[in-house]
């Protein structure tokens, strides 16, 4: 095969770049692409910070009636929604007599969690995540954060919830 034949091939016209240059071009473009990705990640971090400071998450306001004490047996749970919001919560009557209220969305991928009676564990069936029913902390599985909780308090026999303002814990 002479050199002329090779020059007249159609693919040479479509891709008129020497072999040595071709390898350089692709790696150069890869390096530029990595920088673009780097810029994208930087913008993403900026958006997260901007959103957290400019549009903070709305807190539950005021006190909300859930139900009466005798409606939830020991080890039982009750799902509830606060008026004006679509976030599902569960009220848990722990075996030691305490009442706890948590968001019912798993912090991993927002599946519904449920309380396993008698174990003190809130379980997420999707990816086997476990939370401590006393504190909402993660015991195992993929969830990255503790379950958000509400403060439970009583007025005679009625159970009420309000936003919990416990100390910010460091991670």
């Amino acid at each position: 095969m002479s050199k002329e034949d090779n020059l007249n091939k159609n693919w040479k016209k479509d891709f008129p770049i020497l072999k040595q240059q071709a390898t350089n071009v692709s790696r150069r473009d890869f390096a530029k692409f990595l920088t673009l990705v780097s810029g994208g990640l930087m913008v993403g971090s900026g958006l997260i910070a901007a959103k957290a400071y400019l549009l903070p998450k709305e807190e539950v306001e005021g006190e909300h009636f859930v139900c009466k004490k005798e409606e939830v047996p020991l080890g039982g749970t009750r799902a509830f929604v606060i008026e004006g919001s679509t976030i599902p919560y569960i009220l848990i009557h722990l075996e030691n007599g305490d009442f706890k209220a948590y968001e019912q969305k798993c912090t991993h991928l927002s599946c519904s969690v449920f309380y396993k009676p008698g174990t003190g564990i809130i379980h997420c069936p999707c990816h086997e995540g476990s939370f401590d029913a006393k504190t909402g902390d993660v015991l195992g599985g993929p969830p990255p954060r503790a379950l958000p909780s509400l403060e439970v308090f009583f007025k005679e026999n009625d159970i009420y919830v309000k936003a919990s303002h416990h100390e910010e814990h460091t991670v």
Binding site: G39, M42, S45, G46
Partner: protein
């Protein structure tokens, strides 16, 4: 006048190869750290820990600027080499 660019263009292809590989290695390292920063700040934002978000953004910005400035050392290839 001899500049960084002319001497780089006259360098041995093996050397350019090394430069390019190192450059890409550092860029991948930067992007990995940035992914970690983004993941951490997202988790902390959802957990209402705001104090880490600005430092994470600044760190991410610095890493991006390092990567961007780093591109100056990208060999121009053999196009204009005689």
């Amino acid at each position: 006048m001899s500049t960084f660019r002319t001497s780089q263009n006259q360098a041995n292809p093996n050397k350019l190869n090394n430069i390019l590989s190192t450059l890409i290695f550092i860029l991948i390292l930067n992007v990995t750290i940035q992914i970690w920063l983004l993941y951490a700040s997202l988790n902390n934002a959802l957990d209402n820990n705001k104090e880490i978000l600005i430092p994470a953004f600044i760190a991410s910005l610095i890493l991006f600027l390092i990567g961007f400035a780093w591109l100056y050392y990208l060999p121009t290839g053999n196009k204009r080499q005689k």
